[in-house]
Symmetry: C2
């Protein structure tokens, strides 16, 4: 990609192209059967990417024995990943989007609803803009009935 805009921040000059938003989401109290259905999880993750306006490039999922699913959707704008622990009602989600066109929280919230999570805890980490400052990390958490 040619360098478009550049901006100076925290003592460096970075291209707008490297700027990204990375949402790290912890989903708790999900129904066990939803977290063990690989086909459904794959569909949810792809739909979450599309819902946010991302372009899907590669999809790879893996079902563990006796339970649990891991998977990734590579999008033009970076990636979405999931690791599910059905026996704990827990799913670990990442939604990382480059640029400022897409809001990764749209995908994270879609997944939260689709997996019927009872609770979402999330942080948003800025990527590609130099040293990560914890002051820039946004924390978000709620019971999902407010979604």
């Amino acid at each position: 990609m040619p360098i478009g805009m550049v901006f100076a921040e925290k003592g460096g000059v970075f291209g707008m192209e490297t700027m990204g938003r990375h949402v790290i989401a912890e989903l708790w109290n999900c129904p066990e059967e939803k977290l063990n259905d690989m086909q459904s999880i794959e569909r949810i993750m792809v739909n979450a990417a599309l819902e946010a306006g991302a372009e899907v490039r590669e999809v790879a999922f893996h079902k563990f024995a006796p339970q649990g699913v891991s998977g990734v959707v590579i999008i033009s704008e970076s990636h979405l990943t999931i690791h599910s622990f059905p026996e704990h009602g827990y799913a670990s989600i990442d939604v990382y989007t480059c640029g400022d066109r897409i809001d990764p929280n749209v995908a994270a919230d879609y997944i939260t609803k689709a997996l019927s999570a009872g609770r979402l805890e999330a942080i948003e980490v800025p990527r590609g803009v130099g040293p990560i400052q914890l002051d820039d990390v946004r924390v978000r958490g709620f019971e999902t009935n407010v979604l």
Copy 2:
């Protein structure tokens, strides 16, 4: 997985199985040609996983036009991802490992060296242990000639 040990932390009881360490690493000043060689990057990411003692399950990589590579290695213990921006000498890395058997920093440092990054900025986020507390996020950054 059957529930083995459980531990109480931050007001909740979580299974040891959900506990993970997620290293978010920003690599700067990498040689442009290294960041545009998909086959080499794929080999580096797989070797990084193996070096850390992880078990590789799925591999998916994508080469963008005119440049840039995105890819993921799904491991039994979670995942490694990379997004490269050759024109900025920047690679965005994630190494997420469940359990306490594997140190994700081993893989992150392997990738940093293999891509000849001039600078590494990293944070380590605890996963799967309840609400993410920023106090628990470990920050690490250095010029890579100290590696």
